[in-house]
């Protein structure tokens, strides 16, 4: 079990996606050259995905506060007060690239990931939503992608027993080579039982629970380096297979343990696995964490510290427990037939220390690793304004009736029943407004009369024409969809899907959308409490349409008063309001 020795060549640094400036910072922080495991950790932590290096400057400008906000962006999910000691916990997340490569598993693991974000905070998920973007219907791949993605979302959510109650779908050729799969989960917690990721208590045990760690998602390019050549001809898959059954057990086990007071903090192992969970927990608490990597439950033989730190295996969590509570916690995870291992301790060193059968396999000071994470003010160009099209100027040869038929049959407007019938939207018996029945779905709180109104919205073609107006419109639409059911809008989560931010035109779209979103959210008192950014959505230099998806949550005190779209009896009067 000796540690593999790998020379850190400029090629290896480049394969890890670090620029030479970024690598210089690594050398400064460590005061020496990193070993391969440490290099991998820097690479993951400073990736776009974890560090938000292109977007952070702008995301800071979003309004995130309000009397209803208990937790804004920065935790696993946002938390909003909904009265009577109840809280709504929610977030949206993208799984675009994996869903294009393997639609079923990609979409499924996306749903699994976002549910973990929510139940990590102590909330039981009560509703899932999804925002989907596909290429043209006639494109050779579209059918296969639509059916795979929908089946994958259903497959995971249905097995978990969480109703999938809403979503939206668009088709445009800009997504031919890069579909978007954004999944949102809304959960329910008690305001005095919210769990956070901040590690504390020097000497407290760090515990690993869930599935075993395999070599999932460890980047192919890196693996091909000489020292990992064992089977380098077989490129490592970058798509994980989801295991909703295990996640259901993980959900129940975590909630059971959360009902005790044994947990100090908890963090799910998302995209960057053990690395980001341990670093974030340590950084938030201003402490160090020592991990004995040989104690991590492993699915395969011969795994290295590098692989353990970078694996993206799903259905895992890291927790800090109060001292002496390990046995009680283990009993719960044993009952649910999940792995449980004490893998480390909280330390006062401020370092992430990695041990491998007693040997030190890596040591990185946490604060500099996080603080020095790159942040770029990417150059951007404002989107040139397009001429406003007046309806009077658009000649149409179609009669109103024919136009209506054409609209109803168009891919962007036709019925979505084919999709939502593949999702269990009835489980729980609380779905008061089902998909298609109202402008937002209404899901009642178990045992209560109040309910949450939930919706996801974005109109990418507006955002392409004018990102500022488009960004604002998405927020306004979510707000309208919630108010239209009789609920009061509370807060939003957002999923910023854009092309390559290194291109000033694309960065301009991003900046515009943030500005518009910000303005609308401020005006409507509809703060952003969580979100996700997905950049580099391009194929062969063709970017997707700018797609800032808004997930909105509102509250209605009595679900019986919620209003749907249906005309329930004859003789009703139709009223048009607004401009």
């Amino acid at each position: 079990m000796s540690l593999p020795q790998v020379d850190i060549t400029p090629e290896i640094v480049a394969e890890h996606g670090l620029t030479s400036d970024e690598y210089k910072t690594v050398l400064d922080i460590l005061g020496r050259a990193p070993n391969i495991t440490e290099l991998g950790i820097f690479s993951v932590m400073w990736s776009e995905h974890c560090s938000y290096k292109s977007s952070r400057v702008w995301l800071k400008t979003l309004p995130t506060e309000g009397p209803q906000v208990i937790q804004g962006p920065g935790e696993n999910a946002g938390v909003v007060d909904i009265g009577d000691g109840d809280a709504a916990v929610f977030k949206i997340e993208s799984h675009n690239h994996p869903s294009f490569i393997e639609p079923y598993q990609g979409a499924a693991t996306g749903v699994g990931g976002i549910m973990r974000d929510v139940f990590t905070m102590g909330a039981r998920p009560i509703a899932n939503l999804n925002a989907l973007r596909f290429g043209e219907p006639a494109h050779a791949k579209t059918r296969h992608l639509v059916s795979g993605v929908v089946a994958g979302i259903g497959g995971y959510g249905n097995c978990m027993g969480i109703p999938t109650v809403g979503g939206e779908v668009n088709f445009d050729k800009a997504y031919n080579g890069n579909i978007l799969v954004n999944a949102m989960t809304v959960g329910l917690a008690r305001t005095d039982k919210i769990f956070y990721s901040k590690a504390s208590g020097i000497g407290n045990p760090v515990v690993y629970v869930g599935s075993k760690t395999g070599r999932d998602g460890i980047h192919g390019a890196t693996m091909a380096s000489a020292e990992f050549s064992e089977d380098s001809e077989e490129k490592r898959p970058t798509v994980q297979v989801g295991d909703p059954f295990t996640e259901k057990l993980l959900l129940e086990a975590c909630l059971e343990l959360m009902a005790t007071d044994a947990i100090v903090s908890i963090q799910d192992m998302g995209a960057a696995g053990l690395t980001s969970s341990s670093v974030e927990m340590a950084d938030k608490g201003g402490v160090g964490i020592e991990l004995e990597l040989d104690k991590v439950p492993m699915r395969e033989e011969g795994m290295t510290p590098y692989e353990l730190m970078l694996s993206e295996s799903q259905e895992r969590m890291l927790m800090v427990l109060k001292p002496g509570r390990e046995a009680e916690a283990k009993a719960i995870f044993d009952k649910w037939e999940l792995d449980f291992a004490v893998v480390g301790t909280v330390t006062d060193t401020g370092n992430l220390t990695l041990k491998w059968y007693g040997e030190t396999a890596g040591e990185i000071p946490v604060a500099p690793l996080v603080d020095a994470s790159p942040m770029y003010e990417r150059p951007w160009e404002p989107t040139p304004s397009s001429p406003v099209v007046k309806s009077e100027d658009v000649a149409s040869s179609l009669s109103a009736g024919a136009a209506l038929k054409k609209l109803m049959a168009s891919p962007d407007l036709c019925s979505r029943r084919w999709i939502w019938e593949q999702y269990d939207h009835l489980i729980g018996g609380e779905t008061v407004q089902t998909p298609g029945a109202a402008d937002s779905a209404i899901v009642r709180l178990p045992g209560k009369s109040k309910a949450l109104a939930v919706t996801v919205d974005c109109t990418p073609r507006y955002c392409l024409a004018d990102p500022i107006t488009g960004g604002a419109q998405a927020v306004a639409e979510a707000w309208r969809n919630i108010t239209a059911t009789g609920a009061k809008p509370l807060a939003i989560t957002n999923n910023m899907n854009f092309g390559n931010p290194e291109r000033p035109r694309i960065m301009g779209q991003f900046v515009g959308a943030v500005k518009g979103m910000s303005a609308a959210a401020k005006t409507l008192d509809f703060p952003v409490v969580s979100g996700n950014v997905s950049l580099y959505n391009e194929t062969n230099g063709e970017a997707i349409l700018p797609t800032p998806v808004i997930g909105g949550v509102g509250l209605i005190e009595d679900a019986a008063n919620s209003v749907g779209l249906g005309l329930t009896e004859t003789g009703l009067i139709l009223i048009l309001i607004g401009e």
Partner: protein, 230 residues
């Protein structure tokens, strides 16, 4: 009424079921973990819906082999009332308590919607409160609900009056068009020979609330409450 609901790893409609039973009978059922081996003392045992063991290998196969199912079988043999819904129906066929199997839906897709079923037989303990031919609007949510048995078995079921529910339209017409999952002869629910074990794919427990799903599933639970309390 003392009712038990079995809970396997992956079961997920146990709370819906408990709510329905409580609404009809006034008492909250007991949740029984799959590791238990004794189910004596209950008047009713319900194997609820969900994805026991992830539906891996075959729906219901692993749960059907679990220790608690042996206990369910024992009680069923003694005449205790047993209801299996959705995954519960799949489990009961896997154990042989009910004949046939549930194959993948003919359309190869998961189906979740409100649908109609026709009661073919009004009899205690499951359908005493329904009349023969009565149509109920209930939920379905399944991927493997396509009831299959060989012709001989089907003829026997029909002959013995053991087909309890069929998929139909809102007026009770049974046809291919109302057969949402490809089931042989539109079968949605059957009983065992003795009449104390019922398996059905639809979810009456998601039709007990005027605000969510309507209340047409309730009579089944009221039938149970009446039959068992009596």
């Amino acid at each position: 009424m003392k009712a038990a609901i079995t809970v396997f790893p992956g079961t997920n409609r146990e709370r819906d079921m408990a709510d329905a039973l409580e609404r009809a009978s006034g008492t909250r059922p007991t949740m029984v973990w799959h590791g238990e081996r004794d189910l004596s003392g209950y008047d009713l045992i319900v194997v609820p819906g969900g994805f026991s063991y992830g539906d891996y290998l075959r729906c219901g196969a692993m749960a059907g082999n679990s220790p608690i199912l042996r206990a369910v079988k024992e009680q069923a043999d003694r005449g205790v009332t047993v209801l299996g819904v959705c995954n519960g129906f799949q489990i009961l066929t896997e154990t042989g308590l009910l004949p046939g199997v549930l194959l993948r839906n003919a359309g190869l897709k998961f189906i979740c919607k409100m649908t109609h079923i026709r009661c073919e037989k009004s009899a205690a303990p499951f359908t005493g409160k329904l009349t023969q031919g009565q149509v109920s609007r209930v939920a379905v949510a399944h991927n493997e609900g396509n009831y299959y048995a060989d012709d001989e078995t089907l003829d026997m079921l029909e002959g013995e009056g053991r087909v309890v529910f069929r998929y139909c339209d809102d007026r009770g017409n049974v046809s291919d068009a109302t057969n949402l999952n490809g089931s042989q002869r539109n079968i949605a629910g059957i009983v065992n020979k003795r009449g104390n074990v019922l398996g059905m794919m639809p979810h009456p427990e998601n039709a007990i609330d005027p605000m969510a799903g309507g209340t047409e599933g309730l009579p089944i639970f009221q039938s149970l409450a009446t039959a068992i309390l009596a």
